[in-house]
């Protein structure tokens, strides 16, 4: 360990039931640098960092921090040593205030050991002001937007005055403006000598901010090198271990008849007057900023929420959709945005997760035809190349990409005409992402109509035939792919130039 290194993790190994998550991983981080940790989902990045944070205990290996060999058995120890972490999954305490959340466990005490609320709020205000985060210390956490919740978590991690801060995909839930803000904070921390370990899937971010990059693959260390000595293509190759273009653009598919028409869809205060058509063979991308109402539009179409006004016309017939069951009966399928919260049945086997929406097709005289189910599972496993030791494996032990494939399979088994995909590739690795893009092309060619919500503009531009941009609950514009650039989408999404450039689609019934 040279003097310039703040952290040395040597020969770290960790196994979970059925999975070897890390084997003999080494990580060296130079003091005062921003160190990007990259790799596909399941490569072991989060596991490695959770070991550093005392959440997991390594099976073997050694950690040296600031020249001292250390054992980290709890997060408390990590914080005492000067290591703080922003987790990928946000874990705010919803009914407590922002200030209480930030100073949880180290509340300033006043007389008689009672909490000094005035100092608590003042300290929080000072912290948030210093970081230029526009949030009220006394706001209740659950009332904050996802982006602000993330910013508060970041502020909390910084408030420990740690010498090493680990950030696990801190930008997955925030908009570009906030990303820029976060990067300013990171650079100013770096100036003060703080070391940052930054986990992300987003290539652009890495080259904007990282000094060094470490790549992990399948639980093993692949390389550590200065960011200046590599590029996107090289990184991807190291991450997946093979040459791969980042994205398969949508291939040609002939358009068929209109299968879904939405007219003046309104949910008061959330979605206003949204109309569009969707044809067979088409992928309609929905873009927009966080909170613009993208997810809310499709959740209303799918019957999760009641609409206040408007019509949904499926294959030319006005259709009443009150529950997801109605939507499925009418040939719709919805791959939700939050895999863990509304997608997977974590404690259940892969088999149940795959079959749950289509079990009625496998019933014979009231009983399930288990052999047919097993045959179907096997076929799906092969078709989507799902990596699982068996169909009895609990889905929570699969990597994000493989979980997503199981969910895609769940919906394809319902033979939908209209496939709604909400952030279908969020948080999954490059390889699985390309496979899902390829599958989408194939499905469009098979005559399915697809709606895809995505926060990644390259994905929107690469995959969509038309792009619907949402702005503050309304349609900010509907564009043909050939007429559009990242800039014009951002303009529509932020409400600029609505009249000039945007060709609002004429709606004819």
């Amino acid at each position: 360990m040279s003097e310039n290194d703040i952290l040395l993790m040597e020969n770290i190994s960790k196994s979970f039931p059925g999975v070897k998550a890390l084997s003999d991983v080494n990580l060296t981080v130079r003091k005062g640098t921003i160190h990007a940790l990259m790799g596909e989902n399941g490569a072991g990045k989060s596991t490695l960092m959770k070991i550093l944070d005392g959440i997991y205990t390594p099976d073997n290996g050694q950690i040296t921090f600031q020249g001292q060999p250390i054992t980290i058995d709890t997060t408390h120890t990590a914080l005492k040593l000067g290591i703080s972490m922003i987790h990928q999954e946000l874990s705010p305490i919803p009914y407590m205030t922002v200030a209480e959340n930030i100073f949880l466990g180290r509340e300033p005490l006043g007389k008689y050991g009672l909490i000094d609320k005035r100092k608590l709020n003042a300290d929080t205000k000072a912290l948030l002001n210093r970081l230029e985060i526009d949030v009220n210390p006394t706001s209740i956490m659950k009332d904050l937007s996802v982006a602000n919740t993330q910013m508060v978590e970041i502020a909390k991690a910084i408030s420990y005055d740690a010498s090493l801060i680990v950030m696990d995909e801190p930008t997955s839930a925030i908009t570009e403006r906030e990303v820029a803000h976060l990067f300013r904070m990171i650079r100013s921390l770096k100036k003060k000598g703080v070391t940052i370990i930054y986990i992300t899937h987003k290539m652009d971010e890495v080259f904007q901010i990282a000094d060094d990059i470490t790549v992990l693959r399948d639980g093993k260390h692949v390389a550590t090198l200065p960011a200046s000595q590599t590029n996107k293509g090289h990184l991807i190759t190291m991450m997946v271990g093979r040459e791969l273009t980042e994205m398969f653009p949508k291939e040609y598919a002939p358009f068929g008849e209109v299968v879904l028409s939405v007219r003046n869809l309104t949910r008061e205060g959330i979605v206003e007057d949204v109309s569009f058509d969707l044809r067979r063979g088409e992928i309609l991308g929905i873009a927009g900023l966080m909170g613009a109402g993208r997810t809310e539009v499709i959740e209303t179409i799918f019957g999760i929420y009641k609409l206040d006004a408007g019509e949904i016309i499926i294959k030319g017939k006005k259709t009443q959709i009150n529950t997801p069951a109605d939507a499925i009966k009418n040939g719709m399928a919805l791959l939700t945005e939050d895999r863990k919260l509304t997608g997977i049945l974590g404690v259940l086997p892969v088999r149940d997760n795959m079959m749950i929406a289509s079990l009625s097709n496998y019933e014979k005289r009231g009983f399930l035809n288990k052999r047919l189910i097993d045959v179907t599972c096997k076929q799906e496993k092969g078709r989507l190349d799902i990596k699982t030791p068996s169909m009895d494996q609990l889905i929570k032990f699969l990597s994000g990409g493989n979980q997503q494939k199981v969910l895609v399979s769940r919906w394809l088994l319902t033979s939908p005409d209209i496939l709604i995909l909400d952030e279908p590739t969020r948080g999954i690795d490059v390889g699985a992402k390309a496979e899902i893009h390829k599958l989408m092309s194939k499905l469009a060619q098979d005559g399915k109509a697809i709606i895809m919500i995505s926060s990644e503009l390259p994905e929107i531009l690469g995959m969509s035939d038309r792009i619907l941009v949402m702005h503050e609950g309304r349609v900010g514009g509907i564009f043909e792919r050939k007429d559009v650039t990242q800039e014009s989408i951002m303009q529509a999404a932020t409400g600029h130039g609505l009249d000039a450039q945007v060709r609002q689609e004429k709606v004819t019934v």
Partner: protein, 345 residues
Amino acid sequence: MASTTTPQALDRSFNREWFNAFIRKYAIVLIFIAMFVGMTFLTDAFLQPRNLFNVVRQISVVGLIAIGVTMVIITTGIDLSSGSVLALAAVFAASLAQQPGWHDAKYPGLVVPVIVPILVALAVGALCGAINGGLIARFKIPAFIATLGMMTVARGFALLYSNRPVSGLTDTYNFIGQGELFKILPIPGQPPLGIPIPVIILALVAVGAHIMLNNTRFGRHIYAIGGNEQAALISGLNVGRIKIGVYTIAGLLSGLAGLVLSSRVGSGQPGLAVGIELDAIAAAVIGGTSLSGGVGTIWGTIIGALIIGVLNNGLDLLNVSAYWQTIVKGSIIVVAVIIDERKNR
């Protein structure tokens, strides 16, 4: 990608994993076997056929309830009303099964075939369960509160209906709880031993419930709701209807338990089975049902009930005081959950 592990090494690690998985899955069975063997050596009476049949007869009532409770817990719910619903079903059924001319008859002169009280017990139970389910699914009341309400209300109705035991029941009715079938097991110096009818009922219900949970759509949907209710809803499941179904089944089984218990003791008492729901929950939890939902098996629950039964019986035979028995039982429940927690880590 090149792997450094040799095939043999892989094989060995696979075996160890398989072994660990086996131990995790069947730990509860091994514990049961150990207890069984222990009791056999500690007492002479334990292994006697008559005693063993006693153990299973004793667990049959709590076993029936535990099967319903297991399904409820798999959906992340809870049912606290089982004991009261049992009592309500018992007094209703018993009042329709009194001997003609009994001095204290609820309905003097009324004579109905035995199928009537049987159906009434099941219907009363199912109705109470359906109300539980309706409150939980339609009015979004936490299961704990809804069934706590039912626990009090059903007990109140039972006492209102008859504030003293309904006794003088017909032999046909009492045969349900006291009779034996297949009297073939010879015991020297005694009449041959048969299988108690409550045990047969429990076995049939357990097998039926196991098949339902594993081989029907409804059964898999129960697990799905417990695994992730929101995801189940989005997958097109009618979550409300499934929940109502589950609580109705649990109520029905409480009614059936009321039938069995009242016929076994020969009277329908409004104060029957106070607190039995806690024993049922204990059996389910000891058997590996997770209170966070999505996980649980019928065979596990039956083993759980057997563990409690063998423990009670064994401690009785060892002349351990009843007070100590409750202490031991409570400790075992906690230890079982600790084991379960570690398993999931």
